[in-house]
């Protein structure tokens, strides 16, 4: 098992992504951040803070629970199944440019589910995907627009993101075998 990103690295990566967001999107007035629960939610909030510090604007931020949108293959995935939580998007997503935030991009199925969920909420103008780690092995034609770190992995390995808000520390860990 090895630590591929430590707290410092995670912090700098998120700052870098915040800058990228500002560069690529002419105006940020119609932007909104939606984090995929649970860790994507924490990352989205950190990005919102980052954007506020850099550009002085408050980007609306919501949290999306995609448990009810998982497909069969996701349901049989190894590991403890998540509890269904509330989705909290207190603003309208119509006509907005949504920045969908998740911790790890792997098969792409989570993102697919998140897209289905978002479209049930309204009609965004566009959706861009932000991930902290892209570990490859896509099973669907999904691509991230902003990537914290590209991390080639094998299917026997697993990538685990730990965040202060939920796990007490900031760390991205690569290990052999299934997730704990």
């Amino acid at each position: 098992m090895s630590v591929v990103m430590d707290a410092d690295r995670i912090g700098r990566t998120l700052t870098r992504i915040a800058h990228e967001i500002l560069e690529r999107n002419r105006g940020i007035d119609d932007l909104a951040l939606v984090g995929v629960r649970t860790r994507g939610d924490h990352l989205a909030r950190r990005l919102a803070r980052g954007l506020r510090e850099i550009a002085g604007t408050d980007v609306p931020t919501g949290a999306l629970d995609i448990t009810l949108y998982r497909d069969d293959l996701m349901r049989h995935a190894v590991g403890p199944q998540p509890l269904v939580r509330r989705t909290e998007i207190s603003f309208s997503i119509d006509e907005r440019k949504i920045l969908l935030v998740d911790d790890v991009l792997y098969t792409g199925r989570t993102t697919r589910a998140a897209l289905d969920a978002l479209i049930d909420f309204g009609r965004p103008r566009s959706i861009q995907l932000i991930v902290l780690v892209d570990r490859g092995h896509r099973e669907l034609p999904i691509k991230a627009d902003y990537v914290g770190k590209n991390l080639p992995t094998s299917v026997e390995e697993s990538v685990q993101v730990y965040l202060r808000e939920s796990d007490g520390r900031d760390e991205v860990v690569l290990q052999q075998g299934g997730p704990a």
Binding site: V78, L83, V84, R85, R86, T87, D116
Partner: protein, 327 residues
């Protein structure tokens, strides 16, 4: 599960699935399972607040609502819940009476089973009908009310409503008043509330109190004032008008005078008491209109919460929560 991975085991992982095939009664559930249903119902409630009130969680699943007793309220609630989860629903209303025999429950079940429904929601006038169905069918069975035995989703939505208002169930004084003997809602609520640590008082005329009621972990009394004193929750149960013929009490007028919930009686309850009723209400019998429509009543919330709670039950039993649910 894959090859074992070393991990620090601080405590058992939180429950995320109901470890059973059916929901036949609250008596079978653990407090953890009850909490799981209530927590999941929170998320389901939010689905009902969206513009598009649908999630694909039960897409492609067939759910049969097999109702041997007429019921608009419960059946509609289940149907909406099923549709919100994108299930294919089928409503079968069986006209039945003890006089008209017709096809046996066992045969109805076998015929249905041949078409492979994923879940069957059963309401029947015989206690234990769901147990019989469960032995015959591989489908998941959800008890929507069997005779005088249990009505688990009602108790779950009652608990959800209480928790919504009071933020907890443990330590609350809950008074349940009415026809205790014949009520399946009572039995389910007693099981649930005692498992979750509430202080349950049941009240009614002695003729309508089941045998050995203290063995269920509740206090029983025929004195309404004693039951209501300091109560955080007052739950009224329906009095069936036919009970007069069984000499359970002399008249509805007398019942109302002795046991009916009026504003005056309610003054002895806690200041922020909530009034509940599974419906349909007999106004002027078990509950006065001013109480049913008053500021303490959460009766309409119960109905609203019914859909969310039933969505949670359907979801957690359907295997949508993972392989563990099939065990």
């Amino acid at each position: 599960m894959s090859a074992p991975v070393t991990m620090r085991v601080e405590e058992a992982p939180p429950l995320t699935a109901l470890r059973r095939k059916d929901l036949l009664g609250i008596a079978d559930l653990t407090p953890e399972e009850i909490s799981l249903v209530l927590d999941t119902a929170e998320a389901m409630k939010e689905v009902g607040e969206r513009p598009i009130k649908k999630v694909p969680a039960l897409r492609g699943k067939t759910v049969v609502n097999l109702f041997f007793e007429p019921s608009t309220r419960t059946r509609t609630s289940f149907e909406i819940a099923e549709k919100r989860l994108s299930a294919d629903t089928l409503n079968i209303a069986v006209a039945s009476s003890s006089v008209v025999k017709g096809e046996s429950l066992a045969d109805t079940a076998l015929n249905l089973e041949a078409m492979h429904p994923d879940m069957i929601v059963l309401r029947h006038s015989s206690s234990g009908a769901c147990h019989l169905l469960s032995r015959i069918c591989r489908s998941a069975i959800i008890n929507a009310g069997d005779g005088m035995h249990e009505h688990p989703t009602q108790a779950l939505l009652d608990a959800f409503t209480i928790r919504e208002r009071k933020k907890r169930l443990a330590g609350l004084k809950v008074a349940i008043i009415g026809d205790l003997l014949h009520s399946r809602v009572l039995r389910s609520n007693i099981h649930l509330l005692t498992k979750m640590g509430s202080d349950v008082w049941v009240c009614g005329p002695p003729t309508l109190i089941p045998a050995d009621i203290a063995r269920f972990g509740v206090r029983a009394t025929s004195n309404v004032d004693e039951a209501v004193a300091g109560a955080d929750v007052v739950m009224l149960l329906r009095i069936q008008l036919e009970r007069m013929e069984g000499a359970f009490f002399p008249s509805l007028r007398e019942y109302f005078n002795v046991f009916g919930m009026t504003e005056a009686r309610l003054r002895r309850a806690a200041r922020d008491v909530i009034i509940m009723h599974p419906g349909p209400m007999n106004r002027g019998v078990e509950i006065a209109s001013e109480v049913a429509d008053g500021p303490y009543s959460v009766i309409l919330d119960q109905v609203a919460n019914g859909v969310a709670v039933r969505m949670a039950v359907l979801y957690l039993l359907s295997g949508g929560a993972g392989d563990e649910a099939a065990a």
